[in-house]
Amino acid sequence: MASSQELSDFLRDVERRAYKQTVYAVRDEHAALDIVQDAMLKLAEKYAAKPLEEYPMLFQRILQNTMRDFWRRQKVRNLWTTLLSSFGSQEDGEERDPLETIDVEDDTDNPVEQLQRSQTIAIIEKALEKLPPRQREAFVLRYWEDMDVAETAEVMGCSQGSVKTHCSRAVHALAQMLEKQGLGARVIINLGVES
């Protein structure tokens, strides 16, 4: 059984990635924060007695399920929003929080390099958002979470063959989209290695 300190360390390690993955999936930063928080609480509540080694897979599974729940609720909500949208007013004077704009400093010193990297990542993020959900899920688990094919298959609830197919298609689709933006595989690999 994992101690509270171990849980805290584990969550600290995964929370940023989990948040970004959720943002790519749901395209809403506030909803993503809620989803990650829900997933964290569910892990702590339902699997307190599980050993620490099982946490990465459990957390990913909970996170994916919470995202699916979000989409289901969103479908119902969208139906009502569509119906009532003609009566509502547009939000144009949205308040901005100064904290929102403060980013943690980039390690790279060279501003040109920073800009290039930042632009590349923005393109990748857009491309990732365009991927079909299952391909994105497979890509994120396999390459970002560094799970092996068997673990990814277990989290996704599909066969290992399907994981390989999803991953392969995801990488090809991403490569194609990046190629269109003038970012060849070599550039990506170089930048990825540097990071």
């Binding site: 928080q37 390459y143 063959g161 490569a175």
Partner: protein, 134 residues
């Protein structure tokens, strides 16, 4: 389908490309706004608190298995099932009681020397009492 799956095994370049993209995404994940980081920290702390309270509710039996104290009280389904069972038992008892009463009254009517119509007639009992007094 299996043909496709076999053909899409990860090639080294594909693996490298995937890892490189993930590496770049990971570097972006390290540059979140302070507000987001604060929210994540709050979420983490809430989860850790929840975990600590869950752990304090666990007891270890002699054979090494774990169980939670009063864990049933945290499960609304169990409570609902308990209430439903209690309602069923009460209903069954009441039905049996009523059946027994009906059986007794049937036996009384059948065993009586008077015809059943005599018990329905409201004037019969005063008439009978008057007869007895005479």
């Amino acid at each position: 389908m299996s043909q496709i799956q076999d053909n899409t095994d990860h090639s080294p370049s594909e693996e490298m490309q995937g890892k490189a993209i993930a590496g770049l995404l990971n570097s972006r994940a390290q540059q979140l706004s302070m507000r987001t980081l604060k929210r994540l920290e709050e979420a983490r702390m809430a989860a850790v608190q929840q975990h600590a309270s869950q752990l304090s509710g666990y007891s270890v039996h002699q054979n090494g298995t774990l169980s939670t104290w009063f864990s049933w009280s945290q499960h609304p389904r169990l409570i609902s099932a308990g209430v439903l069972c209690a309602a069923l038992i009460v209903g069954l008892t009441l039905t049996q009681h009523m059946n027994r009463q009906i059986e007794n009254s049937d036996a009384f009517l059948l065993g009586s020397e008077l015809p059943p119509e005599a018990f329905v007639d409201r004037g019969f009992e005063p008439w009978l009492n008057a007869k007895v007094e005479l």
